[in-house]
């Protein structure tokens, strides 16, 4: 797993994906920070985090699009799958590489908090709560993106399909409002990424939501392993 993790980290920077991802992330979050926090004359960061949901949604597919689809296209997967490593090591190596880059991006909020500390009192509990909420959200989204990337050889298709998948997950709330059946409504609300995430930004630290994000991450990594395994049996 270590070897794959290190190679992916290098590949992010060699291919330039890391720079694009970090630049766009820093730029957009900076705008939200300036408008929503500094401009509004508050040290309350929740609105910034609320807006960042949508950036995460569109940026994570950029991060994950090539992880497995490129391997398949260039036939480098033959090298990985015939090496003495398990499928989980391959998938998790890639997964944690993407997650690491996401954490680097997300940690920009600590720079913002230093700026805030000059201007006023930072409410650290909400800031940290939000930071971890976003971390867990990213952990789940990356797993979804990695899974989509395992399904296709085409990077663009991979990116667009995972954006779509994440967007549909995001829209679950609005769908749920239009469903008449109470049970289905409840079910859809319970798998809503957005409402769970927003809960955090409002200062509610809900353990069940953390479990939800982590189990989503696990589930999609498991699916990815299954896809790789199934291809061998095709």
């Amino acid at each position: 797993m270590g070897a794959i993790y290190r190679r992916e980290m290098n590949a992010f920077f060699i291919s330039g994906v890391a720079y694009v991802f970090l630049t766009v992330f820093f730029l957009l979050s900076g705008i939200f920070f300036f408008n929503g926090v500094v401009g509004a004359g508050t040290t309350e960061t929740s609105s910034m985090f609320g807006s960042m949901f949508i950036i995460v949604l569109f940026l994570i597919p950029i991060l994950t699009m090539r992880l497995l689809s490129e391997e398949k296209k260039n036939r480098t997967d033959q090298g990985l799958l015939t090496a003495p490593v398990g499928l989980w090591s391959i998938v998790l190596g890639k997964y944690f590489a993407a997650l690491t880059l996401f954490v680097i991006a997300e940690s920009i909020v600590f720079v913002y908090s230093i700026i805030l500390a000059y201007l006023g009192n930072v409410i650290w509990s909400t800031l940290l709560g939000n930071y971890f909420a976003m971390l867990f959200l990213g952990a789940a989204f990356i797993a979804v993106g990695l899974f989509v990337s395992s399904l296709t050889e085409n990077q663009m298709a991979s990116a667009i399909a995972s954006m779509l998948a994440l967007f549909v997950l995001y829209l679950f709330d609005s769908f749920a409002n239009n469903v008449s059946s109470e049970i289905i409504k409840k079910l859809m609300a319970s798998v809503s990424f957005y409402s769970r995430y927003v809960e955090f930004t409002q200062g509610v630290f809900n353990l069940s939501s953390i479990v939800f994000f982590l189990s989503t991450a696990f589930l999609f990594n498991f699916f990815t392993v299954r896809v790789l395994d199934k291809r061998r049996w095709g």
Binding site: A3, D77, T82, P84, V85, G234
Partner: protein
């Protein structure tokens, strides 16, 4: 070292590999020979655990590839048809990655240097793989397979796309490696297999059509006494040809006579096949003396591996099984040409009566 039992791979209705069994001992070089699409790569992908088999068993060093894939894979160095290279890495960082991936315990610097020296890529270690020539890429692929010094090397068409010098270099390297590794290599290039391999398996349409050493295979398939004659007639016209063919046919023990091309002005070659254990050379000589013809050439045709290959792959003959078939069937008309050191064959009649998978 490698044992394959009744290996079968099915894709839906298509039998890609059908009931293949073979054994390779330590220090042997086995050649897989077959036309494109015969199932060579599929077999190799199964041997290395890249794809699974539909049924059958593969033992690498006594370890079943499906039961303990990690252990079995650790014995194998694999160079697939398309080397699995990351184009944006340097040769050094790529080999370092493969070193880590294979959890190699050998001293890092010394081992990588040794592998690079062996494959003659030491000069390009700092370069980005994307910018390397095809030959260098192939060698980097080979170097990658050699990392961790695996006892088994599986090389899928290792010389494809290389120039003649590089081909010779790689062949020499494979021979060298064959001394202390078990090597399986595939190719559709006959001289290559003949030059490098101890043992040959000819595979056609997913089944083993012949196996053994080149000599053994030849022995199995050539029971006929065949020769090529070049006879100069008296008139140097096409009439000669007919007369000679008729006369040759009358010799006792002759089974089959065919006039071949005009090799010299008005002089033709004749393929003559006699029954087994009948020596007709003297009778031919006598005949020519009587008629006043001159024998300009008499060549006993030992079948080369190329002939065997063509016979097997074009005629759908499995040697040893349907000998009667071999006798009855006229030799398929095949146009041979040599292109880039590769033998290209076109059958005249496409009467492929395998009932099949077209």
């Amino acid at each position: 070292m490698i044992e394959v039992k009744n290996l079968t791979k099915r894709y839906g209705d298509k039998q890609a590999v059908n009931n293949i069994s073979f054994k390779v001992e330590k220090g042997e070089i086995l050649g897989f020979l077959g036309p494109n699409g015969a199932g060579k790569s599929t077999t190799m992908n199964m041997l290395t655990g890249y794809i699974s088999s539909t049924s059958g068993q593969i033992l690498i060093n006594g370890v079943d590839i499906l039961e303990d894939p990690k252990k079995a894979k650790s014995y194998i160095g694999y160079l697939p048809e398309i080397p699995p290279l990351y184009a944006d890495m340097t040769v050094d960082s790529y080999l370092g990655f493969m070193y880590d991936l294979k959890k190699c315990k050998l001293p890092r610097k010394a081992h990588l240097k040794e592998v690079c020296d062996l494959c003659k890529i030491s000069a390009v270690r700092g370069r980005i793989i994307r910018n390397l020539s095809k030959g260098y890429k192939q060698r980097v692929g080979l170097a990658q397979a050699l990392i961790n010094n695996p006892p088994v090397l599986i090389l899928d068409e290792p010389t494809v796309g290389l120039d003649p010098n590089q081909i010779i270099e790689i062949r020499t390297l494979i021979k060298k490696l064959g001394k202390n590794h078990t090597v399986i290599l595939s190719s559709h290039i006959l001289p290559e297999i003949q030059a490098v391999c101890d043992k040959i398996i000819i595979i056609n349409k997913g089944v083993v059509a012949a196996d053994g050493t080149a000599d053994e295979i030849a022995k199995n398939i050539t029971n006929e006494h065949k020769m090529t004659l070049r006879i100069e007639g008296t008139t140097h016209t096409a009439n000669d040809k007919q007369e000679i063919v008729d006369a040759l046919k009358k010799i006792e023990g002759v089974k089959y006579v065919r006039a071949d091309m005009e090799r010299e002005r008005g002089i033709y070659d004749y393929d003559v096949e006699a029954h087994e254990n009948v020596d007709i050379r003297r009778a031919v000589n006598n005949l020519c003396r009587e008629k006043g013809w001159n024998i300009l050439m008499l060549q006993l045709s030992n079948l080369t591996l190329e002939d065997i290959f063509l016979k097997i792959t074009m005629g759908d003959i499995v040697p040893g099984r349907d000998k009667a078939d071999i006798v009855e069937k006229p030799a398929p008309k095949i146009e041979l040409s040599v292109k880039d050191g590769e033998l290209v064959a076109n059958a005249d009649d496409a009467s492929d009566n395998n009932g099949g998978d077209k």
